[in-house]
């Protein structure tokens, strides 16, 4: 199974960041276990219909961050994170997202209850509608 990332070339976020975030999540969720090979730069570029340099930039950032390791001439692999590091990454991503939401909520004077209701609603939306929220902006 080749890895699945959906990239929206029209989105505000640069493509390299979409790839970066996608891989981060695949690693955090365990879909890409430590030691696994990620698709080669050229292969992923081809399958995403994107320039290799763009994929390369994302991989480079991920390897700077220690999530991937590049073995020259061989390919790119998921780093062997010490136990718990993956959970930490997961928690970090989640906390970051939650903080962003709360910041928005508080800045407009929403209550905690209102916020929770909004999250519940969004969750329902997702599980029912399957897929479809494409968030602009």
């Amino acid at each position: 199974m080749s890895i699945v990332l959906d990239i929206d070339p029209a989105a505000a976020a640069p493509i390299w960041r979409q790839i970066e975030d996608g891989v981060r999540r695949l690693v955090a969720s365990g879909s890409l276990p430590p030691g696994a090979a990620v698709p080669s730069v050229r292969e992923l570029a081809r399958s995403l219909r994107v320039n290799p340099a763009t994929v390369s930039k994302a991989y480079q950032l991920l390897s700077d961050a220690g999530l991937l390791v590049v073995r020259r001439g061989e390919g790119t692999f998921v780093a062997e994170l010490e136990s718990g590091a993956r959970d930490a990454e997961r928690a970090r991503l989640l906390a970051e997202g939650a903080a962003r939401l709360v910041a928005v909520a508080r800045s407009m004077g929403a209550t905690k209850a209102e916020t929770n209701r909004a999250v519940d609603a969004a969750w329902r939306e997702f599980t029912e509608g399957g897929e479809g929220t494409k968030d602009a902006r």
Copy 2:
């Protein structure tokens, strides 16, 4: 009283959007009630240490969206929104933020419970670290 916005010139988001969002939230939260005057472009530009053209762009977008109205020779004012419009805007912003969080959470295989815990934690973080609440609950 001059309006309070914190602008980070080094942030990823463009400055005009930071201003736009800031004003949107001040309106949504009621800090800027309908009919209130907003600072002039050059005044706000000076206080934020930002290029006037940048403030102007934000105001322009807000007028186009109907949140502000320009009265020539007098200044710029918060539009008189029809009843409920403000709440609708609030709900929209909140729903948007919640959807973003849920998208992240699901993409990394987090459960609803985990997500809620993260939101709770972020909320606690904010109320402790930050200043008093206006309508906490």
Copy 3:
């Protein structure tokens, strides 16, 4: 006075690293004081006869490292380092270089005295062959 960097396109080190190191040293030596503007990407690219993307990469790395700050639409500037940070950077660069030399020396069984003699010789070489010492401090 425009900044002076000598770039060797035939060197083993990639051009972006040569630029990065050059700027690092100009900052460490105080030739580029905090707040000063560095040449624009395009301008430096033109004067070095190099592709703008190459300069951009170097600047990007330096700004990730906190030595430069990019102000969108305005240009790139030397970061306002807290007092002592510049000296620390200087010391770091020097220590790094010294460590590399000592590593080589020890790995081939050279003594401390031999190493010191080699440094002395290199120093003499430099002061004679090149121009006079401009900075004795």
Copy 4:
């Protein structure tokens, strides 16, 4: 006794060069005396967990440089260097390293005294801390 080299596949320097330099230093330091047998390509490749072609490339360069000689059917051996050649090689490596350090030092306006202090410090570091500088950057 098998020869000891530490290879870092993640380092900036290519693996073949790490091997080449390692052997050069073992010869310069006398650990590999003239006439001594070096491990076979495949044996070294196995012990370093490295591709045999990589070891082969290093050995090839070393033979071209006259440091190793291949005796067909027998193996690869350290060349019988004329007297003084080993010391010359040592001096050359040391001078090269010293020149690099001085270049860095002068480019950032460091004094000779500062440089010497840095070397002393690095030397102390090494003799105390044992081993440990892994120089990625």
